[in-house]
Each structure stands twice: as C-alpha cells, then as structure tokens.
Symmetry: C2
C-alpha cells in the first residue's frame, strides 16, 4: 500500500494525496528521480476518480516537487538534498508554521512539548549528510 486515504475526512482527497506524497519525499521513501504510480493506476488503487489524483499531482507540480511527462509519468523533481528552497515559498511557509504552533500554545501545550514534537518529526526525515563542514581551517587537503 503506497498510499492510504480517508474518503470521508474533512480534508479533500486530492489534498490528502498531495500530503502523503510530500511526507514520502521528506522521509526519503520517494527520493528525487523516483517514479510515482501513473494517475489512472493510483486512482484505481485508491478507489477514486483519476481526475482527483490528477489534481493532487498537478498541485505537487506547481509546488516544484513533481515533474510530469507524457510517457515518463510522474517523477519526483526535488527532495531535501536538491538545494535551498525558494524565498517566496519560505515566507508563506513560515506564516503557516506560526499559525500551527500558535494553536498548540493556545491549547496549552508547553514550549518544551512543542519543540519536542518538532524534533521528533524532523527525526523521521532524510536530510542530506553534512558536507564541506569545515573550510579554511589551516589549508585544504594535504
């Protein structure tokens, strides 16, 4: 089972598809270059219309995460190792992060608890190994 969906939940199906794929990319289960199921096949697997899957894929393309080709299908375009994010995107994301963390604070979750949940989530993601960590520390390779 590559994806699972809640058809009767409050969040739209195409959005759930988008969310699950974003998480798969972050966790390294779908690295840059890896292929996703064809629209029609995933639609059959999930028991939804193929237009709904198409909408989710198209959303991911707009976000720069997917590359869609006629015969090549859907391929992951970038992941955590593909360079820094777009500044415009970062601004919007920070705004959404503030709202989400504010909700936790208002609901009474302590600062340590919120920070801990963030760290726990990050621990599940596949970040690139640190590289070129030290430069100009007396002279390059021997």
């Amino acid at each position: 089972m590559l994806l699972s969906i809640e058809p009767d939940g409050p969040v739209p199906i195409y959005q759930q598809i988008r969310d699950r794929i974003v998480e798969a990319i972050a966790r390294g289960r779908q690295p840059a270059g890896s292929a996703l199921p064809p629209i029609r096949q995933l639609a059959v697997d999930l028991g939804v219309n193929f237009h709904t899957v198409n909408k989710g894929y198209d959303l991911l393309r707009q976000e720069g995460l997917l590359r869609l080709g006629r015969k090549s299908g859907a391929v992951v375009r970038r992941d955590a190792s593909s360079g820094p994010p777009d500044p415009g995107w970062a601004q919007d994301w920070t705004s959404r992060l503030q709202t989400l963390l504010a909700e936790a604070a208002a609901q009474g979750m302590p600062a340590t608890g919120i920070a801990g949940e963030c760290q726990a989530a990050l621990a599940d993601f596949a970040f690139p190994a640190a590289v070129a960590e030290v430069r100009n520390r007396g002279g390059g390779s021997p």
Copy 2:
C-alpha cells in the same frame, strides 16, 4: 487594527479570522478572560458579513478557545496558562505538524533551519512562567 484580512486570498475569511485570534491568544495579546469585539462590530470593521465572523467565532468555540454568551459576548476561554491540551486534539495536531514540516524538508530547508524557525515562532508566544521547577533537591524552603 485588531485584525487584518486578505479578502481575495486562498484561505477562507472565517478561517483567517480564526487563525488571527489563535495567534493573538498564543502571543498573550488576548489572554484567557479577555473580550473580543462583538460579531456585528468586527464584521463592520473587516467589511464582511456578520455570518462570516460568526462562523470564525463558532469554530473557536468548538476548539474550546472561546466562550460565547448572549450579552457577555465572546470571551477567551483558555490560553497557554490554562492547563494541558486534550489528548485527542494533540494527536490530530501532531499529524498536521508532520505534514507541514515534511513540506519544508522536501523543499530543501535544512533541519537546522526548520528547527530555528520553530524556535523563532515559539519566542513570540506567552508561555506561563516556570513554576515548581525543582522539587526534592534536599529539602524545600529553609
């Protein structure tokens, strides 16, 4: 200006109202017990229908953040100092956090950057002062 709204944005107006109030509570600008503007007045201030404001207030009531009374109006029911969150809510919130942080990781934001943004957001919130920080450290007050 207590609230500002983007009428033509992608996020519904009633949701924006809810988000801004949640942030005001988290930042301590609307502590538990403080009053919010009456529905009709806020509607006039924002240039929207009062049903839209009512929907935002009602959402906050469902989330346990507001208490609505006939003549008493809308009063903040809880904030960061009002005790721990509901376990059911925490589970849902954690799920939404994972999706949001996964998006940042997939977009190439480094783990340190994500953690830093979380800390920066938390720094703007009003958490209760630590209390009873040390117990059983050899004997209470002298």
